[in-house]
Symmetry: C2
Subunit: 135 residues, 2 copies
DNA sequence: CGGGGTGTATTAGTTGACATATGCACTAAT
DNA sequence: ATTAGTGCATATGTCAACTAATACACCCCG
C-alpha cells in the first residue's frame, strides 16, 4: 500500500496518484469496500498539499472508481468484474483511437501497425534503435 | 492544397498545420522538391499570425520533412521511401508506447489489446455504446 | 541599387493547468 | 458539547505553452 510521487517527472502529481490507486486496485492490494489512506495522512509523508490528493481522489470518484461518504474516508467502489473489464477496455479504446487514425493517415498497413503494437506489448526493450528524427 | 485551421479545437494551431503538411505529403499533393505556400500568403487567409506558421514550418524542418533555403520558399525535403517509412513507423511507435503500458496496467491480455486495435484500424468506430464512465 | 518577396530572431502578452493556502461542513467518539 | 477525525469549496499563486507584434537578414528581379 505504498504511494510514491516524483515532482520532476513532468507527470502531474494528481495524475500519478490516480494511476497508483488504479494500479493498487488492479493488483488486488485494494479491494472494493476498502478504505483509502486519508488525504492528510497521505499528503504529509509525500510532502504535497492535501488539496492535490483531494483532487486526485475526486477525479476517481467521477470515474466511479471510488465512493464518497461525507465525513468518512473514501472507499473503493463496488464493481462487478464485467463492468470493470468493460470500463478498462473502453479506457484503452479511447487512447487507441487517435493512434488508429494516425496510422491510416501515415499510410501504414493494418498488419504493420498491429505488429508494431504487439511488439510494444511484449516489453518493448530495444529492437528498434534507428530513430534519428521525430524530435 | 487547402489548409484550414480551427482555433477552438483545443489542438494548437501550429500542430494542426504540421499535421496537414504531413498529410499533403503523404497523399502526394506535395512531392519532394515542391515549394510550400509562403508564410504570409498562408497566414493572411487563415487569420493567424505569420509567426505561428513559421513555427510549424520550423518544426517540420527539424524533423527533416522540409528544407530551408535562406530568402527562398521552403521546399519538401528529399527522402528516400525507406527513410520516410521508418520515420512514419517511429512516429506511430511513440504514440503507441503509452498505450502498451496502459494495457499492461489494466491487466488486459495481449491478444485482447491487439484485437481491439485491429478493430479500430478497420474503421468501425461506433459499435460500442455502453461507455458510462471514463470522463 | 532599390523594391518586394522570402523566412526568422527576439520580445511581449494571454491563457490555462497545476499546486497551494485557508476555512468550512460533516461524522464519530468522548 | 467538545474534540479530533474525515473530505471539500473557494480563492490565490506559479509557471509553461501558445500566439502575436516588431524588426531584421536574406534572395531575386528590374
Amino acid at each position: 500500500m505504498n504511494f510514491f510521487v516524483d515532482s520532476h517527472s513532468g507527470v502531474p502529481i494528481f495524475r500519478q496518484l490516480m494511476d497508483q490507486v488504479k494500479l493498487h486496485i488492479a493488483s488486488g492490494a485494494l479491494r472494493p469496500g476498502d478504505e483509502l489512506p486519508s488525504i492528510r495522512s497521505l499528503a504529509a509523508p509525500l510532502g504535497v498539499n492535501p488539496m492535490t490528493i483531494s483532487k486526485a481522489y475526486n477525479l476517481l470518484v467521477r470515474e466511479n472508481v471510488l465512493e464518497r461518504r461525507p465525513g468518512l474516508p473514501l472507499v473503493v467502489a463496488e464493481m462487478d468484474p464485467g463492468t470493470l473489464r468493460r470500463s478498462r477496455r473502453a479506457q484503452l479504446r479511447e487512447g487507441l483511437k487517435p493512434m488508429a487514425s494516425l496510422s491510416k493517415q501515415l499510410g501504414l498497413g493494418e498488419d504493420e501497425a498491429v505488429q508494431l503494437f504487439r511488439e510494444l506489448l511484449r516489453g518493448e526493450a530495444g529492437s528498434v534503435s534507428k530513430n534519428e528524427d521525430e524530435s
